[in-house]
Structures are given as structure tokens and as C-alpha cells.
């Protein structure tokens, strides 16, 4: 095969659009925001990039921002964990389904992507609210089971405008990002390993934790990354589904760019989040590297 070095022109023709795209629409805007994070708002419209660290200092010294970041992390972590627990059986189901059903199920997983996030979130409001579909359904079950004669009339559950709604919304929105990588790795899983494990006397549970989980680990890790990181930055879901204390760090950042009109501080908060994410990814890479080193 020809090496790309022999045909540099063709290589650049193919590489250029992608490179330009990345430069113009990713690196450049990010660089601008990064520069802004070292600036200060001098008047209503102008920001001067002075190299000051005051924005970072403000974010790190005022405990309220750390508290909000911490809350965002645990909400995202919980949503990611629940996504994983729910998505795992779904991935297995799809993987073990017949070819025809496989297509149908995969389409069903991807289908919500065809509808705008905002509309899906509003749909969730219609499901969760006091006089929403979830409560109607529960009420029907409650009265059909004659429970209202025992415990009194049905009290609608407060499903909306609390942390439950935020986490449910995040799970709903990001579920496909968990199912797809899990499905890919379950699909690659050699099913004869499972049979071997069972034949050799391991219980179903043991087989699952000692064989299945380690072999699908790449899918689990990608799924966690793909769900956790967007969760951390989400602002629409807490805004629309959350109650009075639903604010996540994404909401604070959004407000800095709009209502508070303080782009440098918003930029600093965004980059703090980014540094933390990079840090976590680097830690993961380091751990993965060490483990590999031990195995070799």
C-alpha cells in the first residue's frame, strides 16, 4: 500500500476540511474563552484580557461555587450510575435479540435523538407534573386496586421541580450515550467465555462480575465518560425540571454569559470544569497504564 507520505497532496485534500473545521469551530472559540478567563469586565460590553487570576480566585475562594460544583458532580455521578444500571440489561437484550429485532431496538434507542432536547424536556414536564400522565396512571392503579377505600383519596406525587426530576431528566436524555457503547462491547463479547465460566461451576453472579464486566469494561468506561461529562455541563434540564435548589454549575455559567454579563467569570468557571474533567481523564489513563504495566 502507498504511504500517505508519497501522496502528500491527496493527504492534505482529505485532511484539510477536518483540520480547518477543528481550528475554526473548536480550537479558536475555545482559545477565545480561555483568554477571556484571564480578563476582567471593564465596562458593559468590553472585556480586557489582563492576565489576571482574579476570576479563578473568586471561583475558588467563595465556597458557594465549590458547593455548586460538588452538587453538580454528585447529581451527574448518580445519573451516570443509574444510566449504567439501566443500560446494561438493555445492551444485553439488544445484543441477544434476533437480527430483525436488533434493528428495531437500536432504532428505538436512537429515535429520541431525532427530537429536539428542549421539546423532549417539555414532554417530561407533561409526564411528571401534578396533573400529568405519571400521576394519572398511578391514580388509576390506586383506585382500581381499591386502595382509596383503605388509605383515603389518591394524593398526587410531587414528581416535578425537585432533584428526582432533574436526575430522571438527565437519565432520559443521556441514556442512548450509555446504551450504544455498551451494546458495541457486549456485541464483541465472545459468548463462549460465558458458557465456559458456567460450565466450570461459577454461578451466574460470579460469571457476571468476573467475566462479563471485565470483558465489557471498555464499553462501560466510554459510556460513563459520554454520560458523565455532558451531565456535568447541563443547564437546560435543571432549569426546566428542577426546583428552587436545582441550580447546577451549568446554570451559573449560563447566567454569567447572559443576565450577569460577566463573561470572564463564566469563562473561568467553564475552564475550571474542563480542568477537572481533564484531570479525571488523566487519572483514569494513569490508572489504566499502571494496571497494564502490572499485567505485563
Amino acid at each position: 500500500m502507498e504511504s500517505w507520505r508519497d501522496n502528500r497532496f491527496v493527504f492534505w485534500v482529505f485532511a484539510l476540511p477536518g483540520t480547518l473545521w477543528l481550528l475554526v469551530f473548536f480550537i479558536a472559540p475555545l482559545a477565545i474563552i480561555w483568554a477571556l478567563s484571564f480578563g476582567e469586565q471593564v465596562d458593559l460590553v468590553n472585556v480586557e484580557v489582563t492576565g489576571t487570576l482574579q476570576q479563578y480566585a473568586r471561583a475558588l475562594t467563595d465556597p458557594v461555587y465549590i458547593q455548586i460544583i460538588w452538587k453538580s458532580i454528585w447529581i451527574s455521578a448518580l445519573a451516570t450510575f443509574l444510566c449504567l444500571v439501566i443500560a446494561y440489561p438493555i445492551a444485553f437484550l439488544i445484543s441477544f435479540a434476533s437480527t430483525r429485532w436488533k434493528t428495531v431496538l437500536l432504532v428505538a434507542v436512537i429515535l429520541p435523538f431525532w427530537i429536539n432536547l428542549l421539546i423532549r424536556t417539555y414532554a417530561l414536564i407533561a409526564v411528571f407534573r401534578t396533573r400529568g400522565f405519571a400521576n394519572f396512571g398511578l391514580e388509576w392503579l390506586y383506585t382500581t386496586a381499591q386502595l382509596d377505600h383503605v388509605f383515603g383519596p389518591f394524593e398526587p406525587l410531587p414528581l416535578l421541580y425537585n432533584n428526582f426530576a432533574v436526575i430522571a431528566g438527565l437519565i432520559y436524555v443521556f441514556m442512548p450515550f450509555m446504551v450504544l457503547p455498551l451494546y458495541a462491547s457486549v456485541e464483541r463479547l465472545d459468548k463462549s467465555f460465558l458458557e465456559a465460566s458456567l460450565d466450570l461451576g461459577a454461578s451466574q453472579v460470579r460469571t457476571f462480575f468476573s467475566v462479563t464486566v471485565p470483558l465489557t469494561m471498555p464499553g462501560i468506561v466510554s459510556g460513563i465518560i459520554l454520560v458523565f461529562i455532558p451531565c456535568l455541563g447541563s443547564f437546560l434540564t435543571p432549569d426546566l425540571l428542577g426546583g428552587t435548589n436545582a441550580q447546577m454549575i451549568g446554570n451559573v455559567i449560563e447566567r454569567q454569559f447572559k443576565a450577569a454579563n460577566n463573561w470572564p467569570f463564566g469563562a473561568a468557571l467553564s475552564f475550571l470544569l474542563m480542568y477537572a474533567t481533564f484531570g479525571a481523564l488523566a487519572l483514569r489513563a494513569a490508572f489504566a497504564g499502571r494496571k497494564q504495566g502490572m499485567e505485563v
Binding site: L240, T244, V252
Partner: protein
């Protein structure tokens, strides 16, 4: 670039030519083709214009009005801050008019091109936030008030106390979702100005809200009327026009301005700096101030119009509706929001962050 001889020149020529053509297309200024084409770009709030106003304007002037929508003043400001993306007429609220004047983002209006300005009631022909009306023309006005369900709130809402300092309707109350409104009306309840710059007073308002947070269901971003209509809450703080819209569908809903008074707002027509069609923009503003056009808009959107000539064409039902036109006594207690400056805005925003994190 060096030319490799093993490439056929024609292919390369084609690539280069198409590349150049693409570059040319993207770099061509959007409006370089004619001095002022028959078009005006209107940046407006949703459901804030008559049903046929834009078509009528085109019929009358031959200028095509294209409308784009924004959801709040912050969005409008953020979008125009880095340069005008092509809008000719915008509709900011009074404190943002002030902000944009200070930031030199608004064109000075040529009043000789807006003869219909005289249709406006006298008190709207001048304003503290824009002396001489050099940059802004009143479009609609109203208050921030309390919408509530009559069957659930028997005694009505007399004071902001019901929303800010009471557990009578715990979990059935929503407040607006922005710092200025939530804190401003708490300040009003505490007997201060809605535009207080005193850090101590702002702190007191913050503490009041945090202490009462357990009784608030949600800080609703401009959808309080939907919460009220769907029975999610029984009392909500909202812009009066939004409540009016659900009042039409549900007789059990009404609104009141609490005795302490609320925010008085005025949305204004302005021409942003860098507007590509300033002549058309003036013509369009003049058309919106026309008596008939103005009455059609007011009739459709059910907000209070400042247009005296248009009011003459309106029916009693609109003119005598206290939900649209509060009494002079109520208006006297209300306050218009003032642009407080970056430093004080930051105080409000920090308090708002702490309130939501508490």
C-alpha cells in the same frame, strides 16, 4: 504552493477555482448588492405583534419585514454585544434600553421620520431612562404582578407577604426566575426601593427569600402562567401580559398588583447600531405607531398600549380591564427598573446564586 508535476493540471484548476468561488461567496458582505433593499429585520419577543401587522406593513410600504424572536433581554443583549448580526429594529425593556444606551449600542432616532410619535400619550413621550426619547419609542407597558387561582386563594393576594414571608400556600407558589425580579420584589416587601443599591438591604432580601424557600415550589423562567393554568401552583409572580393570556382560557385565574407595588416596565422600539436598513427601520417604527396598526396589535396581544390614538379605536372591554390598565393609584406605587451598574448587578447576581444554592 509547489506544483507537483504528477498531477493533472485540470483537476487542480477545478479545485482551485471552486475553492476561490466558495471563498468569494462567504466573504461577500451580505448587503453589498444594493444600497437599501426593501427589507427590515425585526427582532421581537414571541407573540408580541399583531396577526397581520407584518403583511399589512409590506402592503403599505413595499418593504418586507422579517421577524426573528428572542426569549429575554439578556439574550438580546448578549447577541448584540459582539456586534449587530443584522437587526434593524429591536424591542428591549426600559432598563436594557438604558444599559444599551450606556454601552453605545443604539442608533439616535430621527424623529422627523417618525411623525406618528405624536400618537403616543404624553407621559410616554419622554422617559427618565431615555431623556427626549432620542433612542427609544414606547411599544407596550405593564407590571409584574401576582396571578392566582380564585377558588384556592379565597382572600386574594393583598401583599407580597403571601409570596415571600408566609407558609399559607407552601409548595403552591412560584416566583420569577431572575435575580432582579425575585430580589427586587422582596426589597419592595421590606419597604425598600426595587432598585436598591444598598448591600445591607440586598442581603436582608436574600435572607428573607432563603428563609422562605421551603414554601416556594419553583423559580419559573417566564412560564409561571403555565404552572398556574395546569394547577401546579396556585399563586405565581409573573408579567401581567402572561397572566392575561391564561385568564382568557380559565375564568378561575385572576391577577393583582400587591399593595406594596410591583415592577413597572416598558418595552421600547429601538434601532441598534449597525442596522443594515435604518431608513426602513424608521418607516417600520412609524407604521407600528399608526393608530390602526397599533390598535390591531394591542387587540391581538392584549398588552397595554401607550398609543393614545390607537386606544380611541379600542373597545371598552380592553380599555376598562384593570388587569391591563391598573389604576393610577397602583401605578404610583410601582417602580420602573433602573440599570444599576455592573457592581450592583454583581451583588444581585451573587445573592441569586447563593439563594439557589441554599
Amino acid at each position: 504552493m509547489t506544483i507537483r508535476k504528477n498531477y493533472r493540471p485540470n483537476r487542480r484548476a477545478v479545485l482551485q477555482a471552486s475553492g476561490a468561488a466558495l471563498m468569494g461567496l462567504t466573504l461577500l458582505p451580505r448587503h453589498s448588492l444594493s444600497a437599501e433593499e426593501k427589507q427590515v429585520n425585526f427582532y421581537n419577543w414571541d407573540t408580541y405583534i399583531g396577526e397581520t401587522t407584518l403583511a399589512d406593513f409590506q402592503k403599505a410600504s413595499g418593504i418586507e419585514a422579517k421577524m426573528d424572536l428572542f426569549a429575554d433581554n439578556d439574550e438580546l443583549f448578549a447577541k448584540l454585544k459582539e456586534g449587530n448580526p443584522g437587526y434593524d429594529v429591536i424591542v428591549p425593556t426600559n432598563d436594557y434600553v438604558e444599559r444599551m444606551i450606556k454601552a453605545d449600542m443604539l442608533e439616535t432616532l430621527d424623529h422627523s421620520k417618525i411623525p406618528n410619535f405624536s400618537n403616543l400619550e404624553e407621559r410616554f413621550q419622554d422617559a427618565a431612562f431615555d431623556p427626549g426619547r432620542k433612542h427609544s419609542i414606547a411599544y407596550m407597558w405593564g407590571t409584574v404582578c401576582v396571578g392566582y387561582r380564585k377558588s384556592k386563594v379565597k382572600d386574594g393576594v393583598k401583599s407580597w407577604k403571601t409570596l415571600y414571608d408566609s407558609d399559607e400556600y407552601a409548595g403552591k407558589v412560584s416566583l420569577l426566575g431572575d435575580a432582579q425580579n425575585v430580589l427586587g420584589h422582596a426589597l419592595k416587601y421590606l419597604g425598600h426601593s426595587l432598585n436598591s443599591k444598598d448591600p445591607g438591604q440586598i442581603k436582608k432580601a436574600e435572607e428573607l427569600i432563603i428563609a422562605n424557600k421551603k414554601n416556594i415550589k419553583v423559580f419559573a423562567d417566564d412560564n409561571g402562567q403555565d404552572l398556574l393554568a395546569s394547577g401546579e401552583v396556585d399563586i405565581c409572580q409573573e408579567w401581567n401580559g402572561d397572566i392575561l393570556q391564561v385568564m382568557e382560557e380559565d375564568d378561575d385565574i385572576t391577577l393583582a398588583v400587591p399593595q406594596e407595588g410591583g415592577l413597572l416596565w416598558q418595552d421600547c422600539l429601538c434601532i441598534p447600531k449597525g442596522a443594515p436598513h435604518p431608513q426602513n427601520a424608521h418607516a417600520f417604527i412609524n407604521y407600528l405607531l399608526d393608530a390602526e396598526a397599533g390598535s390591531k396589535i394591542a387587540d391581538f396581544i392584549q398588552y397595554a398600549t401607550p398609543n393614545g390614538a390607537a386606544k380611541k379605536l379600542m373597545d371598552k372591554e380592553y380599555l376598562e380591564n384593570p388587569a391591563i390598565f391598573p389604576s393610577d393609584e397602583t401605578i404610583a406605587k410601582c417602580e420602573a427598573a433602573v440599570f444599576l451598574g455592573q457592581e450592583v448587578t454583581k451583588l444581585y447576581d451573587d445573592a441569586w446564586t447563593r439563594i439557589q444554592a441554599a
